[in-house]
């Protein structure tokens, strides 16, 4: 994969594919700083999402990546940091 940037839109797409969306949650709203739990994604949904991001973007998360990045903003930033590390390497 040559995707060099991971955006909120990418995250939303992957969340929907891998875990759907809770009724009453608008992923198109202002969700950047909302905790994943509040968005209706518990650990299992995040593991599925994380696995999909890893495969599609060729990055590798630590065991704690998903536990530590609790919001879309944090996760997007982390994925992008991993992508730029990979380019630098």
């Amino acid at each position: 994969m040559s995707n060099l940037e991971f955006t909120l839109e990418d995250l939303k797409r992957i969340l929907l594919e891998g875990a759907g969306a809770d009724e009453g949650v608008d992923l198109d709203g202002d969700i950047l700083d909302t905790d994943f739990e509040e968005l209706g994604y518990e650990s299992l949904a995040l593991l599925e999402t994380g696995g999909r991001i890893e495969r599609e973007y060729g990055v590798e998360f630590d065991d704690d990546t998903l536990a530590e990045n609790r919001t879309p903003r944090a996760l997007v930033a982390t994925v992008n940091a991993l992508l730029s590390e990979r380019v630098a390497a």
């Binding site: 929907l16 594919e17 891998g18 875990a19 759907g20 969306a21 809770d22 009724e23 209706g40 299992l44 949904a45 593991l47 599925e48 696995g51 890893e54 495969r55």
Partner: protein, 405 residues
């Protein structure tokens, strides 16, 4: 110990009907739903016919959060559970959560989900396997998902005894009510019409290779050539009769009155198969004599040897031609763990309408001395019915259902 257990709600999904009304409307007139497989191209396989549920769109009924983590059979079961709850008129909070449980049967689990993940594992690599695989394919998934969706924290259970399992689950549910639970969901769903599941079913050696949808699955017919598999099943809400009355349940279909089960002796032993004994045990458990039974819903394997065993067991218990026998599953194919719960539903609906649904397409072979209801439905006063189910490996189960007083 002997508390009366009644059925107060039903959810059903079969190839010939989604929901109780559709299912019965199709079944009472003998509407055949067997056809060429459409879920994949069956051309290369010796068997090409199935009973498929064609009009089910899971997304119309279930939250999108559940879709990626569920196999087709779980989606069908969850929707049926919703319908059964509505049918029973149970509202959330009516019954304490620890007094409600789920006991389902499964035959092959979420086989299609498993097929997709096995494919990813071997063609792409282990890191491609879904986070949901650990439970989405396993046999316990429907009991788990139903309990979660409906807030049921009481006794749970899952039995696997091939097609006999659907009755074993109902019996286990009744047992839990007799031990003190107020409401137990029970029944079974299977949906393994995918290439991997198809090949496994072909390996069983009992599927027909006929390509004529009206002449393929012909139990008790001289031209019986095997069975046609189908997908679907039913979920029933079982309640303690007193508790149901106490909450003002309005929709009492009838009672689960008796149960018996056996397993055949090891092949080649020369001993009698266990079906007769299972029937006798179910009648004794219900406290009924053979003459009290108004109709038998047969297992109807569709292979000459197994049809003969079933006809002989029925005649041995009831006397030759002494009780009407029917097999409406000729319209849907064999639904594995879902088959017998659907027959239990048909038995209750037969009581309501006073009508025995037909065994479609079949012309009774003179080799069997049973009174098979063929052609069209038969009017009859049905107060008690016997439902039979058998699984490969020699599983025999029998349930007696009786009209509510």
């Amino acid at each position: 110990m002997t508390a009366k257990v009644v059925v107060t709600g039903i959810g059903v999904a079969t190839p010939n009907g989604l929901g109780v009304d559709d299912y019965w409307a199709a079944t009472r007139v003998g509407r055949n739903a067997i056809g060429r497989v459409t879920r994949f191209d069956p051309e290369q396989y010796p068997s090409k016919l199935a009973g498929e549920i064609r009009e089910f769109v899971a997304e119309d009924h279930l939250p999108s959060r559940l879709i990626p983590q569920t196999d087709r059979m779980t989606r069908l079961a969850l929707v049926a559970a919703d319908c059964a709850f509505t049918d029973a008129g149970v509202r959330p909070g009516d019954i304490p959560e620890f007094d409600m449980g789920v006991v389902t049967a499964s035959t092959s689990g979420g086989f299609e989900f498993g097929q997709n993940e096995l494919k990813k594992l071997w063609s792409q690599g282990s890191q491609y396997v879904s986070a949901y695989q650990s439970f989405a394919w396993f046999y316990a998934v429907n009991s788990g998902q139903i309990s979660i969706r409906n807030g049921m924290r009481g006794p749970s259970g899952v039995v696997v005894s091939d097609q006999a399992g659907g009755l074993d689950a109902i019996a286990q549910a009744r047992r839990q009510i007799r031990k003190g639970s107020k409401l137990i969901f029970s029944g079974g769903f299977d949906a393994s019409i995918c290439p991997w599941g198809w090949v496994a079913q072909i390996a069983g050696g009992r599927m027909t290779t006929s390509e004529d949808a009206d002449r393929a699955y012909l139990p008790f017919d001289a031209n019986a050539s095997g069975y046609v598999p189908g997908e679907g099943g039913a979920l029933l809400i079982l309640e303690d009769a007193e508790a149901a009355r106490g909450r003002g349940a309005e929709n009492v279909y009838g009672e689960i009155a008796g149960y018996g089960a056996t397993i055949d002796p090891k092949p080649g032993s020369g001993r009698e198969p266990g079906l007769r004994r299972a029937i006798e045990a179910a009648l004794a458990d219900a406290g009924l004599a053979p003459g009290d039974i108004d109709v038998v819903f047969a297992d109807a394997a569709g292979t000459p040897e197994l049809d003969r065993i079933e006809a002989e067991a029925i005649s041995a218990v009831f006397g030759p031609g002494r009780v009407p026998v029917t097999a409406p599953k000729t319209m849907t194919g064999r639904l594995y763990s879902g088959a017998a719960p659907v027959d239990v539903v048909a038995a209750f609906l037969s009581m309501r309408e006073g009508l025995i649904p037909p065994t479609t397409n079949v012309e009774l072979s003179p080799a069997y001395d049973i009174d098979l209801v063929t052609g069209a439905a038969r009017t009859a006063n049905v107060r008690a019915a016997l439902v039979l189910a058998r699984g490969q490996g020699g599983f025999n189960s029998a349930v007696v259902v009786r009209a509510a007083d």
